[in-house]
Subunit: 346 residues, 4 copies
Amino acid sequence: MKALVYSKSGKIALEDRPKPEITAPGDAVVRVTHTTICGTDLHILKGDVATATPGRILGHEGVGVIDSVGASVTSFKKGDHVLMSCVSACGTCAFCRKQMYSHCIHGGWILGNTIDGTQAEFVRTPFADMSLYHIPKGADEEALVMLSDILPTGFECGVLNGKVAPGSSVAIVGAGPEGLAALWTAQFYSPATIIMIDLDPNRLAIAKKFGATDVIDSSDGKAAKAVMKLTDKAGVDTAIEAVGIPATFELCQQIIAAGGTIANIGVHGKPASLHLETLWDRNIAITTRLVDTATIPMLFKTAAAKTIDPALLISHRFTLAEGEAAYETFGNAAKTRALKVIISPS
Amino acid sequence: MKALVYSKSGKIALEDRPKPEITAPGDAVVRVTHTTICGTDLHILKGDVATATPGRILGHEGVGVIDSVGASVTSFKKGDHVLMSCVSACGTCAFCRKQMYSHCIHGGWILGNTIDGTQAEFVRTPFADMSLYHIPKGADEEALVMLSDILPTGFECGVLNGKVAPGSSVAIVGAGPEGLAALWTAQFYSPATIIMIDLDPNRLAIAKKFGATDVIDSSDGKAAKAVMKLTDKAGVDTAIEAVGIPATFELCQQIIAAGGTIANIGVHGKPASLHLETLWDRNIAITTRLVDTATIPMLFKTAAAKTIDPALLISHRFTLAEGEAAYETFGNAAKTRALKVIISPS
Amino acid sequence: MKALVYSKSGKIALEDRPKPEITAPGDAVVRVTHTTICGTDLHILKGDVATATPGRILGHEGVGVIDSVGASVTSFKKGDHVLMSCVSACGTCAFCRKQMYSHCIHGGWILGNTIDGTQAEFVRTPFADMSLYHIPKGADEEALVMLSDILPTGFECGVLNGKVAPGSSVAIVGAGPEGLAALWTAQFYSPATIIMIDLDPNRLAIAKKFGATDVIDSSDGKAAKAVMKLTDKAGVDTAIEAVGIPATFELCQQIIAAGGTIANIGVHGKPASLHLETLWDRNIAITTRLVDTATIPMLFKTAAAKTIDPALLISHRFTLAEGEAAYETFGNAAKTRALKVIISPS
Amino acid sequence: MKALVYSKSGKIALEDRPKPEITAPGDAVVRVTHTTICGTDLHILKGDVATATPGRILGHEGVGVIDSVGASVTSFKKGDHVLMSCVSACGTCAFCRKQMYSHCIHGGWILGNTIDGTQAEFVRTPFADMSLYHIPKGADEEALVMLSDILPTGFECGVLNGKVAPGSSVAIVGAGPEGLAALWTAQFYSPATIIMIDLDPNRLAIAKKFGATDVIDSSDGKAAKAVMKLTDKAGVDTAIEAVGIPATFELCQQIIAAGGTIANIGVHGKPASLHLETLWDRNIAITTRLVDTATIPMLFKTAAAKTIDPALLISHRFTLAEGEAAYETFGNAAKTRALKVIISPS
């Protein structure tokens, strides 16, 4: 089968690989119909993710059709249309029992990381009963790829951890796909204000269309001042970090209201300064989280109820054979205006 | 009247001052019977607290007897025995309405800071109806001084924010009075493990008596390793920082379990490094808080039920005339083995 | 001044009364600009509310302009435009400290009940600092009357107690003003399904316009069956009782999903059967609540953000002189199609 | 093998049965070392539990040693010492994912109900990975039988649902084994008051030893009055129903404080009157729950930490051959003073 592989040269490469097989009784093999690229895939190509080694088929998002299941799989059978979670969960370990699937001691984020992933014609998914989800008939399957990772990430790490509430004020730093996913799902809770902060006017324009009440172009270095002005000097109740660098994390510290929460989504490569000398008495909380995808069933319901339309996050479409172009497009989002790019193996 | 004053020389000085008077209808004047010194008072003397200026009568803790009340005070009358909260709360601002009294826009921590405090024969307390508490007949009034600040601080900032729970594991970094207050009130929730970490073997011995299940002398720089060993490499569910320096805050980051909470009690003077490169995917929370003393009524009940005996935190006793010696003793705790020192003006 | 009084004959009567005066330092006297009638006022006229005796000026909702304030009032001054909460809260008792203002030991629901109310040209409001709210310039003051009681009631007793959540299913039994208030504020949390149940097709049509996803005419006695069909036999996550009779409360028991919550809004005059023989093992919760109006500040923010438009709940308008007609209209809602009727003394 | 069977005559009978075998890949067969009788078993014998039919081997509690496991079991192997939960949980259905194992759509309480149970030499346990728990070396295995059902029931249905908190007041109606389990685990949260109510002076004496601060003999019909006196007319914050009849449930309604919670543990056979005419405005919650045993891991930790000593709930011991006598003893607890009786097949 065809697959997109993290090659030794640090590039993505289209290669021929054997079709995966069931290796444990809880496995399923899924014929992938649509997958996508995540910012983490770009990190892997840069060599930033030690656990992902050259030769790995990338990808941890996608929808498809069950090709075969192991002996102990009870919820799925050949032919079922399924969504794949980016997290594989055994369901029985102490972390899984509290829905902290990301830290499953037998799974977690392994797809396209420590085992081969979804950017291929077929993929083997461990712990199928816990990690796959039935797609209802008539659903927009391509759009549901957004439920594998990006929407639960924005929602769980940003909105739920950030305790967004009716009437509250929210600032989201970073209007890339993750920030937009947070922007969208924040609206489940009807905050009065959602301020979107980014350097890219194009992304801010999209944010405005997606429901931001205010946008701030931070290229002048005065974003904190602008937020304080918008909030009558109080700061925001929730600050969501969706970039992953010290500067944006420190911006969150400057704009957080007393009693507020800074919810981190960004993948960070180095420490940030935590200004305890000003924050120790401010009654704030700071949270981190690797997405658990525990909210996928709920997101299915909101998608079915048309509360959200995940398709709006899709900007480009490619075939698997065009995979290298897809990476090119997604990797140069500032220029290509890419949000999420769909790759359709079949 | 006699009072302990933050003098221009940066020392504490016993001075003669006029007896305070009611200046607002919500005020009370209290004849102080017992007060104490807080670590914050030492910070003021060092000039670390910009809002507290020389000439200020110090002290924000204490019990006493109502001497007079303003026209709008309804819950108290002359002769009532009362506990004074370290926080003055108007009760009506947005922060007070959510029990975040520390951030009251008309009050907060003002006693012995921006207005004269309790280390005197008399003190004026604003917002008496919200900030004073009736002492039940027959209570150990001296012991209740521990409810003005230190016990609610350990409990609210450490134990509540830290989400201590039955069967959970807790580490407390710093076995001074604040750490001991956290140690004690953590036991309200029956954690399975409470590990106390300090450099001072004397304090660790006291911690053991106060209910620590394990103690670690961190003078060898290997405290993190020791905690990981005690917790089968998982780390602790709750890490409470009760020192206030970068090194101890960073220790908390090394020992926190995935899904755990770092609850800060310490008063910090400079930033700490936040290791987001290792913590971003660990599903942790970090909290800060200035004590709100919202739990004083609850602490009264636990004291009445003998769940805790606040008197055990008292190590020394002085008269107001001996105030300078009291500061000397408290300021040299390593040598004097002081915990909390009581000053009794009358 | 003119006032609407609960007369000895059990009717509402327009009477001349002396203008109220400040009697406690925390009081304000408010010139009423708009008020409204509550279902509870009808109960009083029927003699159902023992605490409200003939001679009482009715009304516990309204907006107006401050005429005078007592000596200890700090947040308001003559000329301020204010919203009046239906609940008067001292702010300092144990109940008020946990925002359970409805059970304030010095106040609670007293306006138009144990003291004279708002259906008059002027009203004395105790505990002004805690019980009045500034109206921002430019707001639709008439519409804000809905924030005195009905919107916080639907929200606090129905939606918050009922734990309405994104993607969840909700049924509201009773499409009168309270049920509509719950319907509206439930949408703050983006449930996937809101089923409205009533006997009156007109009210169901309004419910549909206000955001109900499904409506059930229960006049055939088969509402439970219809709900189970709509929810694939699971029942609803939240059932809100907004009528106040045993039959509707028992309907809620029939349609609640395992793990769900029945949130009572209705004012009940007699016991209902609680079917513990079927519910004991269903992991459900049942809640009751007298509105605390603790969410008025939040509702102000959502109104300012246009998340809700309270004006849509207003169906009729009267002057104070037409007060008897206003009661007539509101009391015959089935015929007049009244929702909330505004009475404007000035 | 020998087994205790619900016979056609409605009596318990010792019978010879074939040793159970693995029938699904997730099964385990456990050699039972200790089991016990539950009040529910007595209900089955009376014919009250429609799902349990004559011929069924009873019992849903116990510890033992793994005899064999199915092909997909990964956490257990032959020879492992295990605790068996009274609830079998598939781990993957919507209820299991939120730890509501009692409502597992493929399991739930089935042992000794719809499939053969633990009062035998061997038992087949479905969903072994989710429903069995490793017993640490050196633990008192017999005592851990109390963690199969009774301790999690008292804790989850009574204490957790009842929101017992430090300094709060609790009343437990019924001092049988379930009431005592609630009494014990309530102390995890350090309430100031735990009032135990029963008709049997012997059980009240035991309650006193187990930590009740007050006991009330309700045989004079004045228990409500006595509780109100003990609580200064406020009532209790938490009322736990541990009997299962209308009278005791109604007693809970009489003694609950405004803002409090009535947590039901009792198995009810008929409706109770819910006095909404007095409770509708009291801001209370009423909860029901079938035990989920989600807290077994936590209870293991508290047992290991010696916070609780489950062995104290054991009053009698029998062999399997003496099973009929065991039922006789447990069924006449008033006379025999039985708490939990252990049956040891091997």
